[in-house]
Symmetry: C2
Subunit: 335 residues, 2 copies
Amino acid sequence: MAERPLYLGVDLGGTNVKLGLVDDQGNPLASASMPTDVPLGAEDATRRIGERARALVAEAGAALDDVPCIGLATPGTMDVPAGMLLEPHNLPGWSHFPIRDRLSHYCGKPVVYVNDANAAAYGEFWKGSGAELSSMILLTLGTGVGGGILVDHHLIDGAHSHGGEVGHIIIDSRDDSRLCPCGQRGHLEAYASGTAVIRRTEEALESGAKTSLSDRMEQGAELSPLLVAEEAQAGDALSLKIVENTARYLGIGLVTLIHTIDPDGVVLGGAMDFGGHDSPLGRQFLDRVRDEVKQRAFPVLAEKVSIDFALLGGAAGYIGAAGVARRQYSARASQ
Amino acid sequence: MAERPLYLGVDLGGTNVKLGLVDDQGNPLASASMPTDVPLGAEDATRRIGERARALVAEAGAALDDVPCIGLATPGTMDVPAGMLLEPHNLPGWSHFPIRDRLSHYCGKPVVYVNDANAAAYGEFWKGSGAELSSMILLTLGTGVGGGILVDHHLIDGAHSHGGEVGHIIIDSRDDSRLCPCGQRGHLEAYASGTAVIRRTEEALESGAKTSLSDRMEQGAELSPLLVAEEAQAGDALSLKIVENTARYLGIGLVTLIHTIDPDGVVLGGAMDFGGHDSPLGRQFLDRVRDEVKQRAFPVLAEKVSIDFALLGGAAGYIGAAGVARRQYSARASQ
């Protein structure tokens, strides 16, 4: 039997909206996904999310009265305390929209607002790979590098809703360092994201490196982190080097973050995990990240900070959003 | 009239121990300094600190009953929750000493333990340059680069007492980047500390750069950040370039920290402030740091995060230690 109260988490992305109902322990009871349909506009999407949320609660055999509040995660830029989307790159046309209060209107429930990467960090911290930790850094490896930071069980939201922009720490300050999609140079994301993996591989191919990737691409395969992973797994030296260098860059960035935060542990999430725990390549990748940190971090931290893959996959965002809502509700209730 | 309760802060360094009594608002009522006399050992020093603390309270016309607890700041390595010095580099022979409980024994008061750089950060946050902020990064510029971080009024002590090691973030990950005194390469401290200023100046002199520093040194002056500051002030181009590059490196490190923490403000403390607010060179240095951050940080953060000099000088440590004690006492009292 699910422990009440229940919490509903909404993870709104540029393509899909994921919704999930969890119990007071963070166990998922029901979930759903729907297209964001960005061009239809923010108001329309928010109305549809409200409807889907109500339906999901009913489908789970629960009542709206069981759900004291809803957690909403969106990408930035945003103003968390104001509950506003500002100029979200992935949601064109949705600028300066008071999404928190509009969703509250459509659901008839208070809504707690949180950055999507921070929500994922909270999800892993609450119910995933970080469940035994009291402070944690999440890096989400995908097209870009995102993440979030928890210290003493609190998310670092940031004074201007930009806490934990861990993809945008500088790992190389030379004038000719790699350009990040954000427009600045030398950021971790410019070296360790999926986009960066493709770019670094292209450069190696342009320089004439011998690799089975060329054969695959001549046969019509598209260059992607997955293709690089496949060829690395199959023994291609260049592909393996690309994977290892990605781990090395991540390790360098992690040392900076570990020396700043000194967390109990680090969690690596996102699709670009080279197969994660279930794959020899993924485990090799993780070991290489750990090695780089061991070589570069203060000895006591190198020894004690855990580094592991995330566990929740795409559910981290809505579980985390629900968890942030629960936390705020509990804090209010205990006052 | 000083508002009671009063708090006593102790800032223990490798050369001196500073003690200060502050009121409930953080206003200093009395302070004292005494030699650490490291070779006499940890037990002896702790006993002397206890005696001096009791005397200081009496000199201020207060009673020990007015002081519910004492804050003790020391350099690391340390175990904050255990109240232990581990292997403090600046306190040779004091390894694995339970300094918190021994001081409590000699004072007859509970003692709250904190890292010295974090105490300085708390001091500036409570009563100094950060008094209007709710989150803050302090960088202390001296022989090394230290500092501390506050998020939502809480110090980041770290899970292993290594929170806020801001001098040891990586700003250059090349294999040939500068060696930090900690033994690793590319850290902010290896570029922006007083030691790094001297090293970078020596390199410029060795490469035959024309500079009035050579004349001063031929006249017997020792190369130091102060000498570089004097010659920069007097118009020496090389010295000014050294100061500006120091600001540039700091700006690079700050961008990483700002993107990680997103604080309300940054405070620059320590002796190596090139004269600080009171000097044209100090103000030029600060402007150059701000410029570097403006050029490299996310626009909203570049615009909103304040960057200023510290205000409390050498008193930051004991005021902060007293403040940390007060905070812990208040938290207990309100439970």
